[in-house]
């Protein structure tokens, strides 16, 4: 069995009196493609925010690649291999598509100490974390000077970054749009650019928050195929939030259903679909009807 890349145990978060999430469990391994569904306001996005360090959980632990990340900042958690997209698209609007991706492509080669070496020092013991921080700071200091002096090494890295970013844009079918400002892209392309940007951080687990929202049926179908491809191509574990139940059912191997912050069901699509609690939650939301989907016990 492979090691868990992203794990949540008994995670809860309360906003004042509101229990936005409680007893949340999750386990993602390489190659997993799991779904997170639930009616509006069920706490799906909140779950992503807790996992990525935007919110500190009230209870429970989150582990990324085996390391407890409670209290780490989002950028530190991202560096451990967890990347996400946003439900309400948050691109760098006035930057070009290329620059959006390049921001996320932090250079892998550093002037003095490799990222691997700093990570190793940081992991070895908590006493070394000071040394790791010092190495990172020195790296950064030298790196600014290299940028100011346009050293050959700096120029090489900039070119390498651009090549890497272009490759990712190509995967997402955005290469022809690379010089376009993000805000001028159509909706569907903005969503795909968000995925390209998240991939650029070199994640091992990718969290997608309603990646198909606002797309037409055809775009949605294409996107689902693409998401499957990404999983094998980049050796990812993927967790998708999706409103369209039909889509999630089609591609995910395991689905977790949230309602009022509680996990009301978990299992393969078939089991989830026929679960009475799920049906009730969705019916209560008159959601199924709105989606034109088959009602309780209907054939698949």
């Amino acid at each position: 069995m492979s090691t868990s890349l992203l794990q949540a145990q008994g995670v809860a978060i309360h906003f004042g009196g509101l229990k936005a999430l409680s007893g949340f469990e999750l386990d993602i391994h390489q190659g997993d493609l799991k779904g997170l569904i639930g009616p509006n306001g069920a706490g799906k996005t909140t779950a992503f925010n807790v996992l990525t360090g935007v919110y500190l959980p009230t209870a429970g632990t989150v582990r990324v690649a085996g390391e407890v990340v409670n209290g780490l900042k989002p950028h530190q958690i991202n560096r451990l291999g967890l990347a996400r997209t946003f439900q309400n698209i948050r691109l760098f609007k006035t930057l070009t598509a290329l620059d959006n991706v390049r921001v996320a492509c932090l250079a892998d080669t550093y002037p003095f100490f490799s990222r691997a070496r700093i990570e190793a020092a940081r992991r070895r013991s908590s006493k070394r974390s000071g040394a790791a921080a010092a190495m990172a700071a020195l790296n950064n200091y030298v790196d600014w000077w290299r940028a100011m002096l346009l050293t050959p090494g700096f120029q090489r890295e900039e070119r390498a970054l651009t090549v890497k970013a272009d490759a990712l844009l190509d995967v997402m079918g955005l290469l022809p749009r690379r010089s376009e400002e993000a805000r001028n892209l159509p909706y569907g392309e903005q969503r795909r650019l968000e995925i390209a940007r998240a991939l650029a951080t070199g994640p091992r687990v990718l969290l997608l928050d309603e990646p198909a929202a606002g797309m037409n049926t055809r775009e949605k179908a294409d996107l689902m195929v693409l998401i499957r491809e990404l999983r094998t191509r980049f050796n990812l574990g993927i967790l998708v939030i999706e409103h369209d139940m039909k889509l999630v059912m089609g591609i995910c191997e395991e689905i977790t259903v949230l309602d009022y912050g509680e996990t009301i069901a978990r299992g393969n699509p078939e089991r989830v679909r026929t679960d009475p609690k799920v049906i009730e939650a969705y019916l209560g939301d008159s959601y199924l009807a709105a989606q034109g989907m088959s009602v309780p016990g209907g054939s698949p």
């Binding site: 950028h75 991202n78 560096r79 990347a83 948050r90 346009l150 951080t201």
Partner: protein, 346 residues
């Protein structure tokens, strides 16, 4: 310039600027009024371009730039006073002067950079408006501190600082700050700053250490404000707390906003225009109004400058909130001509 061998690309523009400014120095050295005016303009350009790194590129709102300028002016000026009687032997007198000036610029800038770090570290963790309040407070605090310190001459200020500032040194500093700003913009670091401006939450989620980047931008910006202050101390007969009030900070903010937040060339143009405008008006009034009325009118120019800036800001915010240049650059219009423009590189 794209055809230059890679190792030379970094330093070539600096050497070129040194040569050009050296030649110009010989020509304009004999025109004291021109040198004075261009010094005032140059200092303001440095202030505007450096503030633009924080307010324009990183999207934070600092309104205490005069405070950092004061740190540079006082520390650099004090150092110059201490070194006054020294001269480096074996080289011409003028060169020794310029080297001493360079030392006081470096020390003044470094002191302001340290101040920037101390102010920025706690306040840049906070969001937007808090930074404005903290920097505003810092600027005033510096003023109060120097007006109470004997070493800095209290309210009287420092006088007798050697007037060694030169056309060449000032414009070399202008050149360096512009070059630094451009190279930041065209590097991975600059892109991270722009990302913070566009969406801090997303930048953080993409692995950008937003607090650290904001502090770095702030330190670089304060460093150059300090350099500008130290330069200033070397061409005005006296520096006192009155030169570094809140009004000065707002003047610089006006330049950056008017030029277009994030546009380096916008900051340059706005700094030049907004510095020369009152000077031109003043000499114009002196010309037309005769000695008596003219002098009175000229004095009025100074009094109405702030209200005019205020009105200008309001008009700009209403009609063109992105500033005259937006975030575009003058040199993007002719990318081949001025090095490699941002767009041309891609």
């Amino acid at each position: 310039m794209a055809s230059l061998p890679a190792p030379l690309r970094g330093v070539f523009p600096v050497l070129l600027a040194l040569l050009l400014l050296g030649a110009l120095q010989v020509v304009v050295g004999q025109l004291p009024f021109f040198v004075y005016l261009s010094s005032v303009v140059g200092v303001n350009v440095i202030l505007a371009v450096s503030l633009n790194i924080v307010n324009g590129m990183t999207g934070q709102f600092s309104i205490g730039h005069a405070g950092f300028m004061a740190v540079g002016a006082y520390v650099g000026g004090k150092l110059a006073l201490e070194m006054k009687d020294l001269a480096i032997s074996g080289i011409p007198h003028g060169v020794s002067d310029q080297l001493q000036l360079l030392a006081s610029l470096a020390v003044g800038g470094a002191a302001a950079g340290v101040a920037g770090f101390l102010v920025g570290l706690p306040s840049l963790r906070l969001r937007g408006d808090y930074l404005a309040i903290v920097t505003l407070g810092f600027g005033e605090m510096i003023r109060v501190i120097v007006s109470n310190l004997e070493v800095f001459g209290r309210a009287l200020g420092l006088s007798g600082i050697p007037q060694t500032s030169s056309f060449m040194m000032i414009w070399m500093c202008v050149f360096v700050v512009v070059l630094v700003a451009r190279r930041i913009q065209d590097s991975a670091h600059g892109r991270s700053l722009l990302a913070i401006r566009e969406d801090e939450v997303a930048a953080e989620a993409m692995g950008v250490d937003t607090t650290a980047y904001k502090v770095r931008a702030f330190v670089i910006s304060s460093f150059f404000a300090g350099v500008a202050g130290a330069l200033f101390a070397h061409f005005v007969p006296i520096i006192n707390p009155g030169s570094f009030t809140f009004v000065k900070s707002i003047e610089v903010v006006t330049m950056v906003v008017a030029g277009g937040l994030g546009s380096i060339s916008g900051s340059i143009v706005a700094a030049v225009v907004l510095t020369l405008l009152p000077e031109v008006l003043r000499s114009l009034f002196l010309q037309v109004g005769g000695l008596e009325g003219g002098a009175a009118l000229a004095q009025k120019v100074d009094q109405i400058r702030m209200p005019v800036y205020g009105i200008l800001l309001v008009i700009l915010m209403l009609s063109r909130p992105q500033g005259v240049f937006g975030s575009r650059e003058l040199w993007d219009a002719f990318p081949r001509w001025w090095g490699r423009g941002r767009r041309a590189e891609e």
